[in-house]
Amino acid sequence: MKRINQALYGKMKTKLRDADAAMALVRAGFDTPKKLREASDKDIKEFVTADQLANVRARIS
């Protein structure tokens, strides 16, 4: 299992208010709001649920 940067995970968890989504996204390399904003829904959907994606887009615009 790929190790993740705990500091990045912690920040992403706080930003999204969703630990599971944060874990999945950081593992996938979407470890900053900037990267999430620049990624397409198609790229992110692979790692999170539709609800989680909606939350990501709501919190990171």
Partner: protein, 330 residues
């Protein structure tokens, strides 16, 4: 009769903490003095000292280091180190005859827990100038947490550039949890303090005097900044761009008791987002700031023109020319 080879319990010998101090520097023998904690070292920097050089250990105020960069190399993470930078006479209106060499460096503070203090006589601070031409330089980039920077006047040198950049990218750079206070950022600087994904900082009691683009800034297209406290600062005529501009979804910041004077807004001229702009942010609380604009109605140069709130911000009792605000700016 006791047996042979018995080890009698002997009281532990405890050495009293002894802080011999440093000759000529009263108080350095005080164990609860300037250091953050008792193991920290104080490194003195004074480019105006006779015969100054970086080739010394820097802990003797009589033989200071020449540069802040050299002092940083001697610090250790969380040891409680202090870098004390002596005053110089390079302020633009000073006599200029004595001690006129400014701090002129672009350094990276890459040691956690360092306190970087300008030892200055007045509210202006120790002059510190950027060196890279065409405004491309940054005086101080902070890439580790838990630092304090205070008592500097960022001005002069190669005009333009950025005074302080707190950068957190989760890779090698973790610049946050820091305090920036009692500093002046003047018209020679483009940007006073820039934050990138940097959280839990305190920026207070600073003066941003006619910086060319931004006073406190987080760039669009970045990762925002959050949980910062920005208070008791004074912004004068940051025109054309913004006094406090936090973009890219900056959330949960407290911005309060700042005074923002803008001659355009005061005069009823357009001043779009030249006050406080938190476009794209959420859950910031912005209260009791003094703004040189009118309450909404005039449109041009008013509260709604001067400021922009984040979607779920709470803007409470910000004081405009004709009374306190009762809404978020739109």
């Amino acid at each position: 009769m006791p047996a042979a080879n018995i080890r009698w319990p002997v009281p532990l010998t405890r050495l009293n903490p002894w802080y011999p101090g440093q000759m000529g520097v009263p108080g350095t023998d005080n164990e609860t003095g300037l250091r953050t904690h008792t193991t920290g070292a104080i490194f003195y920097v004074d480019p105006n000292a006779p015969g100054v050089s970086d080739g010394r250990d820097g802990t003797d105020p009589n033989d200071p280091l020449q540069t802040i960069a050299a002092a940083i190399t001697k610090c250790q993470h969380y040891r409680g180190d202090v870098i004390a930078v002596m005053m110089n006479g390079a302020w633009q209106y000073a006599e200029g005859a004595n001690y006129a060499t400014s701090i002129a460096e672009e350094v990276t503070l890459n040691v956690a827990g360092v306190r970087l203090i300008g030892i200055n006589y007045s509210g202006v601070g120790v002059p510190w100038a950027p060196v890279t031409a065409a405004g491309a330089g940054t005086c101080l980039t902070i890439t580790q947490p838990d630092c304090i920077v205070e008592g500097f006047a960022f001005q002069g040198g190669a005009p333009g550039g950025r005074a302080i950049f707190l950068n957190w990218d989760g890779g090698p750079s973790y610049g946050e949890n820091s305090v920036i206070r009692h500093c002046l950022f003047d018209e020679d600087m483009d940007i006073g303090v820039q934050l990138e994904f940097s959280w839990f900082n305190v920026i207070h009691d600073c003066m941003f005097q006619e910086c060319d683009t931004y006073g406190i800034y987080q760039a669009a297209g970045g990762s925002g900044c959050a949980y910062n406290k920005i208070y008791d600062n004074y912004f004068v005529d940051i025109r054309g761009t913004g006094a406090i501009t936090l973009l890219s979804g900056s959330d949960n910041n407290q911005i309060y008791r700042n005074t923002i004077y803008n001659g355009d807004a005061q005069n009823g001229a357009a001043a779009t987002n030249e006050g406080i702009n938190i476009t794209g942010g959420n859950e910031n609380i912005v209260h009791q700031n003094v703004l040189s604009c009118l309450l909404p109605v005039p449109a041009v140069g008013d509260y709604n023109d001067f400021c922009t709130a984040g979607g779920t911000d709470s803007w409470n009792q910000n004081y405009c020319l004709n009374g306190p605000s009762t809404t978020n700016p739109t």
